[in-house]
């Protein structure tokens, strides 16, 4: 028996993160989706499109990151939006509807509305990028680059490896220094000296160690001609279906975007777009595009819960 309310509550607590259903799709699908969504959002000023994108970004980020997303979205985004709106209102004096004057400066309705719209674009894009960050894990990047350029893929992979390695090593060094009774101390000079020392140990140790790494690479044939790139990702029928969906509706939205159906003019006076056929089609396509991951994740979660309760 599925109880939607409880499911949703659980889902919202910590978020699904990189284990979510959509994140499990092929990296090419993930990337295509985000390129379309973020690209079109950036060039959309039409309130309908903005509302849709902003809402989808909010919902998806909460699905992915749970409570944490709600917190950052409110605590960080709202102040940003308020400040941005105010700045535009007080520094742009275009527009025909004057609300009031500050000294001799006109404060217009158009500037206020445009400032708000721009701040919605900005925060939507930022939220989309936090989703992008969660979904596109390092190995997806490595895969996408490695497919086209194997050596660069390896370089990325080694870089990620070294971040972990250096972190561990630095902790060991600073523990080692503490073992000798060398705490960072209180004065700035002492602290600076101690940190310099620790970094210098880290560098000489790592350089020494990298000789062995080079040996190990060469021993396993690094530098031979015709390097390939291996990955665990498979492009399945599921991936193909979602890819086709993304490309069709992304394509339609993009076409609409190019035809200026996603824009609205704010100056000199607010000019709400006429609801014509093409705009309606574009909007429908756009909504069908941006809610893909939300639908996939919620559907996946319900299916998962159902199969769990059957066990």
């Amino acid at each position: 028996m599925v109880r939607p309310y409880r499911e949703v509550k659980i889902l919202f607590r910590d978020g699904l993160g990189e284990n979510s259903e959509f994140a499990g799709y092929h990296p090419a699908v993930n990337l295509t989706y985000f390129v379309f969504v973020i690209g079109i959002t950036m060039f959309s000023t039409n309130p309908l499109f903005l509302t849709a994108s902003f809402a989808a970004a909010w919902i998806y980020s909460v699905i992915l990151r749970g409570k944490k997303a709600v917190r950052t979205n409110i605590l960080f985004m709202i102040p940003v939006m308020v400040v941005m709106t105010l700045i535009n209102t007080f520094f742009t004096h275009n527009g025909s509807t004057v609300l009031f004057y500050v000294n001799t400066n006109r404060i217009t309705l158009e500037a206020l509305v445009y400032g708000f719209a721009a701040s919605v674009i900005l925060s939507a894009v930022i939220i989309w990028f936090t989703c992008f960050n969660t979904v596109m894990t390092s190995d997806k990047f490595i895969y996408l680059f490695g497919r086209t350029w194997p050596v660069f893929g390896l370089l990325l992979s080694m870089t990620f490896r070294f971040i972990g390695l250096l972190k561990n090593r630095y902790r060991e060094i600073s523990d080692g220094q503490k073992c000798m009774g060398r705490d960072a101390g209180k004065s700035f000079m002492m602290k600076a000296r101690q940190i310099t020392k620790e970094i210098s140990i880290l560098i000489s140790w790592s350089l020494e160690a990298s000789i062995e790494t080079a040996d190990s690479m060469e021993a396993r044939g690094y530098g031979l001609k015709g390097r390939t790139f291996f990955s665990l990702f498979r492009f399945t029928a599921k991936d193909r279906a979602v890819m086709i969906w993304t490309v069709i509706f992304g394509g339609i939205s993009l076409a609409g975007c190019i035809l200026k159906k996603t824009v609205m003019y704010y100056y000199p006076s607010l000019e709400f777009p006429q609801p014509d056929m093409m705009t309606a089609v574009t909007l429908t396509a756009f909504v069908l595009l941006i809610f893909i991951p939300v639908i996939i994740d919620i559907y996946g979660e319900i299916k998962w819960k159902r199969s769990e309760s059957e066990i």
Binding site: S138, D139, I142, P150, L154, S157, M158, F160, R161, G164, L165, K167, N168, E172, I173, D175, G176, Q177, K178, C179, M180, G181, R182, K197, S200, I201, S204, W205, E208, A209, S210, E212, T213, D215, S216, M217, E218, A219, R220, G221, Y222, G223, L224, K225, G226, R227, T228, F229, F230, S231, L232
Partner: protein, 548 residues
């Protein structure tokens, strides 16, 4: 046809006046398992590096090396990469990529293998090595044993015919080391890959090897079956390598028996039973057990007193330390043993002040210093001497006083001849001693040690034990965490087991080990039926000599 044939190999490093390898001839037959042993710096690594084309060190080379009938130098790079696997000492430094699966695929990617084949090979290799459950993990998050297993697997995925391992278990704790060696043995027996391995842990390696090669100062002084190697190394005057032999062999040699030496604990037990029956004089029923050791520690002063310690790493996890109590007396050498992940190191860190326990208190009578597991974590200077001077940076003393202190420390740590050497050029045991010297110079009254014998050969361990003894005789207290049962049994004043967050059964070694059934030395397990209190091989030998 032999996998590898080496004839009259001579090698000299540039700018060195001594030959690193002299007149070495040896054969590695198909599916051979050869263990190369010798003191640190005897040329083992140099020899192993000559067995793989692109690992050869730069220098002056004479002699012939053939790989499957062809000169090694003529082997193509591709063949060399694929057919000879090489695993080195340090688990961390050999890993190249961020994910386990990618590391396994690295070699095949280099060879230009297609995705499908890589997938199949990686899958079967991961299954063989038991990696499948952590196949997608990040390499930085693995334990040392797991890392080394990945290194082995990522070489084996290329299906080499010859596997070369240069002290592969030196950085591992004994449990992980034993697992690693068993896997190497399985590779040799089940897949038929020829193995050449240099190793200090002869206790296990001897039972696996077809041949044992002994090296000394660049020469190969012996190469034959392990049984014969035991006899060879037991000859008077004793070779330094004697102390590295399996305990069973040492006991056998000391009783001056003739014939084939037993290798394993089981063989040793069977042999001892027969031997005692045959040779026991008169009062067969009442064997004299080992005498109690004389106590080194007289003082009743407590150096470290721990009461009700509780610690957990984060809110959600369980307690690693659970109301831990411990008392260590002044001038005592106290060893804590126990399985991996039981919290031994956590306890040591709490005493050393690296972590702050959530509850309980630690009283220490005096300054505490701790020796990190990796001595490199302390090295900043370019010579051993300056390294020691660095330790005195915060000490208020005149230059001549400092120089004198350094001189004394060099003497104590037996590093005088190496004073101008770069710390990174020292061998593992020497680095360990240099780091200990640095710790010693800050005048601690309590020294904490975490696995100090890791990667040391038997000879260096004896040196180290001697140094620790000198320190305790000066009133310094040593608290050591170790897996090395033989080392703890031979040297410490008291041993304790750490289990489930508590210190259990702290007692003198003879009582501690004779009370244990699984967790005891090989010598004790072999002879406990007759001499339950004999823990070290010397004690067993003494008892046997008394009995006959």
């Amino acid at each position: 046809m032999e996998t590898l044939r080496i004839r009259d190999l001579n090698f000299r490093y540039p700018l060195s006046d001594k030959k690193a390898l002299q007149d070495i001839s040896m054969d590695v037959d198909t599916s051979d398992f050869i263990v190369v042993c010798g003191k640190s710096g005897c040329g083992k690594s140099t020899l192993l590096r000559h067995m793989k084309k692109n690992m050869m060190p730069y220098g002056e080379l004479a002699g012939e090396i053939y790989y499957r009938g062809k000169p090694l130098a003529e082997l193509s790079d591709r063949m060399s990469a694929a057919e000879t696997g090489f695993v080195q000492q340090d688990p961390d430094n050999q890993i190249v990529t961020d994910k386990v699966w990618h590391e396994l695929a690295f070699g095949l990617e280099s060879l230009g293998t297609d995705n499908k084949t890589i997938k199949r090979r990686v899958a079967e290799t991961a299954s063989f090595f038991g990696i499948q459950t952590w196949f997608r993990r990040e390499t930085a998050l693995l334990s040392g044993g797991q890392k080394q297993m990945v290194n082995l697997a990522s070489v084996m995925v290329m299906q080499p015919k010859l596997l070369i391992l240069d002290e592969p278990t030196a950085q591992l704790d004994p449990i992980a080391a034993s697992e690693f060696l068993k896997t190497v043995y399985r590779i040799n027996r089940e897949i038929g890959t020829a193995v050449v391995m240099s190793e200090h842990r002869l206790e296990e390696a001897f039972t696996m090897a077809d041949k044992v090669a002994v090296m000394d100062e660049g020469r190969m002084i012996f190469c034959d079956t392990p049984e014969k190697a035991g006899i060879f190394l037991s000859k008077e005057p004793r070779n330094d390598m004697f102390y590295g032999l399996p305990s069973v062999m040492k006991i056998f040699a000391e009783t001056e028996e003739q014939g084939n030496a037993p290798l394993t604990m089981r063989e040793g037990r069977i042999w001892l039973e027969g031997f005692l029956k045959k040779r026991m004089t008169g009062r067969a029923e009442e064997n004299e057990d080992a005498e109690d050791r004389e106590e080194h520690v007289n003082a009743e002063d407590i150096a470290v007193k721990i009461r009700g310690l509780r610690y957990r790493y984060d809110k959600g996890s369980h307690d690693i330390l659970q109301d831990t109590d411990l008392e260590v007396r002044k001038g005592e050498w106290f060893s804590i043993m126990g399985g991996n992940g039981t919290g031994k190191t956590t306890l040591l860190k709490a005493v050393g002040g690296l972590i702050r326990p959530q509850r309980g208190n630690i009283e220490a009578a005096g300054k505490i210093a701790m020796l990190p597991q990796n001595p490199q974590a302390l090295f900043t200077e370019i010579t051993a001497e300056e390294e020691l001077l660095e330790a005195l940076y915060y000490t208020k003393a005149s230059d001549s006083e400092k120089a004198e202190k350094i001189e004394k420390t060099l003497e104590l740590m037996e590093l005088r001849h190496l004073r101008k050497t770069h710390p990174y050029d020292l061998s593992g045991g020497e680095q360990q001693r240099l780091a200990l010297g640095k710790i010693f110079l800050i005048d601690p009254e309590i020294i904490l040690l975490d696995e100090p014998t890791k990667g040391l050969d038997a000879f260096f361990k004896r040196t180290l034990a001697g140094i620790f003894r000198t320190l305790t005789s000066r009133g310094i207290t040593i608290v050591m965490v170790s897996h090395d049962m033989e080392f703890c049994a031979e040297n410490s004043d008291r041993c304790a087991m750490f289990f489930d967050g508590e210190v259990i059964s702290a007692d003198r070694p003879e009582e501690f080990f004779s009370g244990n059934n699984f967790y005891t030395t090989v010598s004790n397990r072999m002879a406990r039926e007759w001499f339950p209190k004999a823990v070290t091989y010397q004690e067993v030998v003494e008892c046997i000599k008394k009995a006959i």
